[in-house]
């Protein structure tokens, strides 16, 4: 009897949860479906959910009209570039703070975090002028520099919380067994640090890919990543729903897939380790 009730309950919960889940996901699903419609079908009334003539026309069209690939590559270069440079700078720092902490380590960490609290708009004017005067405006290099700086505190924090979890006893054990420092790093620490570094990399690529304040303000036709490129659909072009959908689908698909793989890290990274 009790078992019956719990199965019934499970079915009710399943139906409710799936309904809500699909409703929340619906705008994304709708975008995906619309990207395979013709422009006429995209605004047809009544709208059709699945039963229309599927076409990949829009995907070709988006590329041929606006050099979509250039902006896609801008996104790739800017998000991977800023994340890799950030990691190169952050790994030694996080390492040092995790394994030979001093009395001031905590203050340094808190201070680094506080730089993330500064609203971007507070430094928009000088950054714009500095970029204009140094020729960095609308260049990939400029965007990589800014995104590296704004995400550096998160990278350091995430790495720090991961490195902290590597138990010190393991090092001692390795030393007792006569491992040299280089062996210690290569065979003991690196394998234990790699999962943390990979998670940090993943989360940061997501954050950099979706960053939409600096990319919108500091880039134009040449270096615009997808965030800024899609924004150009806000006026007249936006009326072409099918093309907007195709451009959007390609822009969000890679990150959706990455993000689904890194749900746990998302929580940890975005709360600076406060919730695990």
């Amino acid at each position: 009897m009790a078992r019956n009730v719990s199965t019934q309950r499970k079915i009710v919960v399943t139906v409710v949860a799936w309904t809500i889940g699909i409703l929340i996901f619906f705008p994304i699903l709708w975008t995906f479906l619309t990207s395979f419609k013709t422009e006429a079908e995209a605004i047809a009334s009544p709208p059709s959910l699945f039963f229309f003539d599927w076409t990949t026309e829009n995907y070709h069209e988006v590329q041929s009209r606006s050099n979509y690939f250039l902006h896609f590559m801008n996104s790739v270069v800017v998000s991977f570039g800023s994340t890799l440079i950030g990691l190169i700078i952050a790994i030694p720092s996080a390492w040092a703070m995790a394994f030979s902490p001093t009395k001031r380590t905590k203050d340094v960490l808190m201070w680094m975090l506080s730089t993330k609290m500064m609203p971007s708009v507070g430094v928009l004017v000088p950054m714009y002028l500095l970029f204009r005067n140094t020729g960095l405006l609308d260049t990939r290099t400029g965007l990589v520099i800014v995104l590296t700086l704004i995400n550096l505190p998160i990278i350091i924090w995430m790495l720090y919380t991961y490195f902290k979890e590597i138990p010190g006893e393991i090092l001692e054990a390795a030393r007792m067994d006569g491992a040299s420092l280089s062996k210690e790093i290569i065979y003991v620490l690196t394998p234990m640090a790699i999962p943390g570094i990979a998670s940090t990399l993943l989360l940061n690529i997501i954050l950099a890919w979706n960053e939409a304040f600096w990319t919108l303000n500091l880039s134009a036709a040449k270096a615009a990543p997808l965030t800024a490129f899609i924004a150009s659909y806000s006026s007249p072009e936006g009326l072409f729903y099918a093309k907007l959908s195709a451009a959007s689908t390609m822009a969000i698909a890679p990150i959706l897939i990455l993000g689904w793989f890194s749900q746990k890290q998302l929580v940890r990274g975005l709360t600076f380790g406060a919730v695990k």
């Binding site: 500064m118 997808l226 990455l258 919730v275």
Partner: protein, 290 residues
Amino acid sequence: MATLHTRSAARLMIAPSVLLLLAWMIVPLAMTIYFSFLRYNLLMPGMEEFAGFSNYSYFLTDPAFFQALFNTLAIVLGVLFITVIGGIALALLLDQPMFGQGIVRILVIAPFLIMPTVAALVWKNMFMNPVNGLFAWIAKLFGLQPFDFLANAPLMSVILIVAWQWLPFATLILLTALQSLDEEQKEAAQMDGAGALSRFIYLVLPHLSRAITVVILIQTIFLLSVFAEILVTTNGGPGTQSTNLTFLVYAQALLQFDVGGASAGGIIAVILANIVAFFLMRMIGKTLEA
């Protein structure tokens, strides 16, 4: 173990990060403060002169500023209200045993991974458009007049779009916190005859309070600077009805080229954010000690 040698090595390893962040924090901010005391318009180069506090008094007496301040708070509070309540409800739901839990989780998280410009444009065109949008079609289905969301309720529409993006964040964090709740405690409460409601109020909610605080504080930091969603949907309008502080400063700087005025606005935004940051930092600092 921390010999003099390792300590200086550690310092060397930390130095690049510290120096970079120090430069990033001090140089542009100092420039903003400096500009905020100048009469400086990019359209009139070479005419810069000291202006005292006139940029601040201009900004603080501009009706658009108070509208922007109000809108900023409305966006923060509106989105927080929707996401925290919705997040708790969703987290409780997703914590129940069900079929295909992993897939539902994936569906719910998705909006958070969408870039802001795409999210805003999809909502603006394919849902809220009064002629071709899905909402207009649904309204007509019921014989109602389609509602022009972005023209008649621009601020509400922006809040709705931003809330859709942040609901997954709240849900995910609260769900993570919920799953760390001791099963035995729940069972013990149940055996003692506590109903579902009192279990929620006396057991679950106190357990979640830390996670809720974290959600509120972190979201506030981001919500104070909502920008892309406004830029591509309403462009701050009609008039200044959906202009927040970030957008006002952007418009002052890059549309009106008023470097001095925009800088003063930027400094005001920094001060506001610092008040919030103060509480957030204390919160995170505590967890560092634990």
